[in-house]
């Protein structure tokens, strides 16, 4: 889950960069927001994986 989270963080960054390079106007802003959303999802996954790990370790 942690690996998936970091992969989502990187993917979100990729979406943002692609939006800046390939789009313009409202579409660019929208896809940048979407990229940030993907990053947020990745961050939540990483946090959850660490919480589960600490629960396991007691």
């Amino acid at each position: 889950m942690k690996f998936a989270g970091f992969l989502l963080l990187l993917s979100g960054c990729g979406v943002v960069i692609a939006a800046v390079a390939l789009l313009a106007g409202v579409a660019r802003a929208g896809f940048v927001a979407a990229g940030l959303g993907v990053e947020a999802l990745g961050f939540v996954l990483v946090v959850r994986s660490h919480l589960l790990l600490e629960d396991e370790q007691g």
């Binding site: 970091f6 960069i17 800046v20 990053e39 600490e54």
Partner: protein, 449 residues
């Protein structure tokens, strides 16, 4: 950003050198603050680690850091994407061999970075205090100063793709950060988060139910003194950064100093009020964190905003920091004794965003006149792209590097060392040998089973 051919006047060069030397007070302030917020049995270790981290950062940056970071107008590696050049890493020779030490802007930048990279490297120590091995912290610092920091600093200060967002994609003036809210504070902050995750919480920090226990710092007077030392350093840091990376004239140092002080003042007072309302009394350690958060948030926009907006940036930072401390400690189970993640990472992110919201750009930060005339419409988007790069690239990068390091060289001290105290376990002597400061320093050492 100042083109390489531009030489500062003699007076501006002298002013810049003095400011850079004063920036070391920022390093001292963070070291003293971290020491005050740790346990007494780790005080000498924290101060020694601060010293070792600062020196390791400077040496690593000298060896290869500047070679990756470079400066605008100097050689760098680029790739072409959608028909535009994307500078991603500099192509300077190692060991400062490409620099003439004649008071040129690039030589001043090298001097500035030797200090600021040490400041960035000290931030994770606040999150790893009381349990981070000295040797591991030095190696981790080498990774930060030799790779992570120069890479992102090239994007922002070295003419890389973030700095070129304005020229290439009409996003305002490109990503702006005069004093290092992103490249120093947030890079340090996300590294602190990575270290806190990898090390795990201190023994006894969380109960079986996950309820956090308060482990107060051993000397709040020391912590507050560190805050005041940091103020001097931050005024110098922001002023030198404004001259070197935003093209500000020497006279603008006055505005930068006023904005830095007002942001920190607004933040600390707001934190005192917030904690006073929520906890019944102002919390001294959180007020210190709020002050540092204000300083971190001030850096990005300090030469571009009016004093009124500087106070506003501080007020928001002062609200953000105590809530972030609570969320990281109580909800996310991240043990951060020095509050580094919140006061440097979160407040730094706010500072970057605030530059997009409030910056009034009239400085000659671009050599391209058409770019200089552009309105600030895309500036906020440029700042958001920078934030996305910090969270989406720098965080995984720094976590991955430290995770690998942890495999080779375990970063966390053994449990008995944690109970004995980092001072005795790693240094063989304590900071306060005349005093028995904690009874449990001498109780039987528990075992994991």
């Amino acid at each position: 950003m100042i083109p390489l051919s531009v030489q500062l006047s003699e007076s501006a060069t002298a002013l810049c050198v003095v400011l850079i030397l004063l920036t070391t007070f920022g390093v001292l302030g963070v070291a003293v603050l971290n020491t005050g917020l740790t346990r007494s049995r780790s005080a000498a270790h924290t101060m020694t680690a601060s010293f070792c981290i600062f020196t390791a950062a400077a040496l690593t940056y000298f060896v290869c850091g500047f070679a990756w970071q470079g400066f605008a107008g100097r050689p760098d590696h680029t790739f072409t994407f959608s028909g535009r050049p994307w500078g991603w890493i500099a192509a300077e020779p190692f060991f400062f061999r490409g620099i003439k030490f004649d008071g040129s802007v690039v030589s001043l930048v090298a001097l500035f970075q030797l200090v600021s990279v040490g400041l960035a490297a000290l931030i994770p120590l606040g999150a790893g205090a009381d349990r981070w091995r000295l040797r591991a912290s030095v190696v981790s610092t080498a990774l930060l100063a030799g790779w992570t920091y120069p890479l992102f600093a090239h994007w922002v200060w070295g003419g890389g793709w973030l700095a070129q967002l304005g020229a290439n994609y009409r996003l305002g003036y490109g990503f702006i950060d005069a004093g290092g809210s992103s490249s120093i504070q947030v890079v340090g902050g996300v590294t602190a988060l990575s270290i806190a995750w990898i090390l795990g919480p201190r023994s006894g920090k969380y109960s079986q139910n996950g309820i956090p226990a308060a482990i107060p710092g051993h000397n709040l007077v020391l912590a507050m003194f560190g805050c005041l030392l940091a103020l001097v350093g931050w005024i110098a840091l922001n002023s030198a950064g404004a001259i070197l990376f935003a093209g500000a004239e020497g006279t603008r140092v006055v505005l930068v100093a006023i904005n830095t002080l007002l942001t920190a003042a607004g933040a600390s007072l707001t934190t005192a009020c917030v904690t006073g309302v929520r906890l019944g009394k102002p919390d001294a350690s959180l007020v210190a964190n709020g002050w540092m958060g204000g300083l971190a948030a001030s850096s990005a926009a300090c030469p571009f905003v009016s004093p009124l907006f500087a106070v506003l940036i501080g007020i928001v930072a002062g609200i953000l920091v105590p809530f972030a401390v609570e969320v990281f400690e109580s909800r996310l189970s991240v043990d951060d004794p020095g509050g580094a993640i919140s006061s440097h990472g979160m407040a730094g992110l706010w500072g970057v965003l605030a530059a997009g919201l409030f910056a009034k750009l009239s400085l000659p930060i671009s050599a391209n006149p058409s770019t200089s005339r552009q309105a600030n419409s895309g500036q906020l988007l440029a700042q958001i792209v920078g934030i996305a790069a910090l969270l989406g690239f720098v965080l995984p990068l720094t976590y991955g590097l430290n995770w690998l390091l942890n495999r080779v060289c375990p970063q966390r001290v053994a449990l008995e060392g944690e109970w004995q105290g980092m001072d005795l376990h790693e240094l063989g002597g304590g900071a306060y040998p005349e005093f028995v400061t904690r009874g449990d320093d001498f109780v039987q050492i528990p075992t994991r089973d």
